[in-house]
Amino acid sequence: MTQPAHLTRRFFLQTSAAAGMATAAAGVPAFAATSVNFQLSWLHSVQFGGSYIAASKGYWSDLGLDVSLSQGGPNAPVEPPVVSGTALVGISAADYTAAAVAQGAPFKIIAVAMQKNPFAIASLAGNPVNTPADLIGKRIGMAVANTPVLQALCTLNDIDINDIDIVPTQYDPAPLVSGQVDCLLCWETDLPVAMTVQGVDNTTMLMADHGYALHSQTYIATEDALANRRADLVALLKGEVMGWNDYLADTDAAAALAVEMFPDAGLDLEAQKLQAARQVPLMFSDLTAENGFGWFTDETVASNIETLALLGQDVSADLWDRSLLEEVHG
């Protein structure tokens, strides 16, 4: 009934072929690879482009890891497999992780892929939302579950949330394009990209540019993994860093790789290229240029804690653990 996933098989072939070549040169036995499951937060796309590069270029297999990339989905939350140990590392976000920790999950944030939060307000060019004040009197389409996010943006910018008309919608650009709402609460890198590719003239206001400081696409692992599988975690992060550095060098190649690796995912190359480019300013900054991909500091953590407080989450700096990154970049 259950058949081995095609993807995993292909990965195995690719990575083992690469490992074979690498190890033939290095003279290390090839059977030493440790199998590791890496739980992504959403469907495959160039959102995880750096990981695909790490897999296809054999960065992980060189480090003795055989990494399976499990994609997420609407009913595939990241936290359960990581808590259960079926995934060693998961992709989460600071607010999700904080909530899970409050519910008893022993998670630590071990690296941060998105320095800037990707949440944005998308609107049509003819009726744009360029500043938080523009939201007043507008109809915003969003998942009701994201109300605390909008509330935080309002608090940060002295706006009364009651002046905004919240319309519950599914996560889809159609309600905006068909005029049911004036703007959408969505990611900078998905729905706006889709609209642009489909020729809908739109504009976005990145919430991170208006005080909403929250790490996203964070790498999480359990305390148990941090204590007992450090070497695997370091190797996984090393591969990630190498993959994402390649990604920065050529985002178009990363987009092409995503399309090529997942022929059944229905990815559109143009949309992937645009998404890949739009991700760069969120993931790479002066901070990462200086310290390396995934880095965070006491200051960025402190501003995250402030934003989390606005979201009603009381968090201490212990949620973040930089020791693995220090080994990776050290």
């Binding site: 009934m1 939350p77 936290e79 497999p81 889809d172 729905l191």
Partner: protein, 510 residues
């Protein structure tokens, strides 16, 4: 001639559709047949692979789910005392929403196709079980008496008499479950599957790729229609005769005391709690997301949690009740309409199957746009999601009207309405009530989906919040509340059913 007329209607329908798509300003919501044709021709390989993947998973789900239903039905016939308990357990398992079961299935099965197949099976077993049970009971008392006189036991009666009698109903169950299995497998892909039509649908909707969305909906609908037609044809070939339903005297079941009923409920609750705890413990599911009865109890004992839960429940019920009634009325009404005007059947049937087979995330936005995000919109979406089993079961029930009785009416010159009212509708009642019972959990699941997609209120939103809050205590409390409500409403419907069937179809009352 008939084929020509059908072709004519088909072309007319396509032309109207194309016209609507051309003139509609909302071209992000509607694609015409020509757009779909262009999309298909550009993506043949991708669509074929995805269709094959989802179809195979749906087929396995269909096989396992229906096998389970048949086994359960047989056990109930052999051990009649187990009926209430087994039906209650079947109902409760059916009540667990994907948002709670998804992570568990993924952790249990890993990256394979297990969750999709399981979801497909879960989507079908309950409706098949209920229809199959009616079939097993639609036996003349003369036959069961005869078996008893010859000293044959329940097993012999089951194999020689009941199994044969159940066939027409079993095939109805299988027919209804074909689109459901497909939809279940598609939704199952939302738990992180790598490929399939469900994955492509998600991608298309977020990518504002309207042509792809409509192509996928069309493909899903066509496959469901094909499966439905094949099973219907197979059913006619296999059954090959019109079963004669004879009305007989009520079986004398002793009156149950309220205390006995209470003890039974207590036993079922106890059993459910034990099974719940034990199954999670056996699979060593982490307490973080697989909450045990004790966790839920502690959670709902907090007054604040309880009041959140109850006020959400109130909002949900206010929307679910009218949707439930509307869905049943739509299903039964359509079945009756087709009896009165059989010609409509060629047009109505494909639409009905299509509405059932297309995932709600594709149809809901259109329905919400047309009917609004309020009570009417919710009612329509819920009705669309639940009417199909009622429609098919009622249609089959109407067909079961004993031919002799209709002949008697005809020979006295009774009109269509008269036959309908006095003979056909009473014959339809067992099937109608069975579908009214199976629609209870379906309506609750439907309304929670709409709440999450369109209204932003009620239990559906509380459950959807789990994705960001990891508040699995709240999620499992919602599951428990939904299960209790479903069981209670099920009990009420069953009570009405017994009262009505005692008059019209006493062989069904045990």
């Amino acid at each position: 001639m008939a084929a020509l007329r059908a072709l004519g209607w088909g072309l007319f329908f396509l032309a109207i559709w194309e016209l609507l798509a051309r003139v509609s300003a909302q071209d992000v919501l509607l694609s015409g047949p020509s757009d779909i044709a262009v999309h298909i021709s550009g993506n043949v390989g991708l669509l074929a692979r995805a269709t094959l993947e989802t179809s195979i998973n749906a087929m396995w789900g269909f096989v396992w789910g229906n096998l389970g239903a048949v086994l359960l039905g047989a056990v109930i016939m052999l051990v009649p005392r187990s009926e209430r308990t087994l039906l209650a357990l079947a109902l409760l398992v059916f009540c667990v929403p994907l948002i709670a079961s998804g992570p568990i299935l993924r952790v249990l099965f890993g990256t394979g196709t297990g969750p999709q197949v399981t979801l497909g099976a879960l989507a079908v077993y309950y409706t098949t079980l209920l229809t199959f049970l009616i079939g097993l009971r639609s036996v003349s008392q003369n036959w069961t008496d005869l078996m008893r006189i010859y000293g044959r036991g329940a097993l012999s009666t089951l194999i020689r008499v009941r199994a044969r009698a159940s066939l027409p109903y079993l095939f109805v169950g299988l027919q209804i479950s074909a689109p459901a299995a497909f939809l279940g497998a598609m939704i199952g892909e939302f738990t992180g599957a790598e490929r399939g039509l469900g994955v492509l649908t998600l991608r298309a909707m977020r990518g504002l790729d309207t042509d792809a969305t409509w192509t996928l909906a069309l493909v899903a609908a066509l496959i469901a229609m094909a499966a439905y037609t094949v099973l219907g044809w197979l059913g006619q070939r296999v059954v090959g005769y019109r079963p004669v339903v004879l009305l007989s005297a009520p079986a004398s079941s002793g009156p149950r005391t309220p205390w006995a009923a209470l003890a039974e409920i207590g036993f079922i609750v106890f059993l459910v709690l034990i099974l719940w705890q034990a199954s999670m413990d056996v699979f060593e599911l982490n307490r973080f997301f697989a909450k045990r009865p004790g966790d839920v109890w502690t959670f709902v004992m907090e007054p604040q949690n309880r009041s959140t839960l109850l006020s959400a429940l109130g909002e949900t019920l206010a929307f679910a009740a009218p949707g439930y009634v509307a869905g049943l009325a739509l299903g039964a009404g359509l079945a009756v309409l087709l009896v009165l005007s059989p010609r409509l059947s060629t047009a109505a049937m494909p639409v009905a199957v299509a509405l059932r087979a297309v995932p709600i995330i594709t149809t809901a936005p259109l329905l919400v746009l047309a009917f609004g995000r309020g009570l009417v919109g919710t009612m329509v979406v819920v009705a669309v999601m639940i009417f199909f089993p009622t429609f098919v079961a009622c249609q089959q029930g109407l067909r079961q009207t004993p031919g002799q009785i209709v002949d008697v009416f005809r020979s006295y010159g009774a009109g269509r309405w008269h036959v309908l009212r006095a003979a056909q509708v009473p014959a339809m009642l067992p099937a109608f009530f069975a579908s009214a019972r199976m629609a209870v959990p379906a309506a609750l699941l439907a309304v929670t989906t709409v709440e999450w997609l369109a209204t932003g209120k009620g239990i559906g939103v509380l459950m959807a919040m789990t994705a960001s809050t990891s508040n699995y205590n709240m999620l499992w409390s919602c599951v428990v509340v939904l299960a209790i409500v479903a069981t209670a409403v099920y009990g009420i419907v069953a009570g009405i059913e017994r009262a009505v069937l005692r008059i019209y179809a006493s062989e069904q009352v045990t």
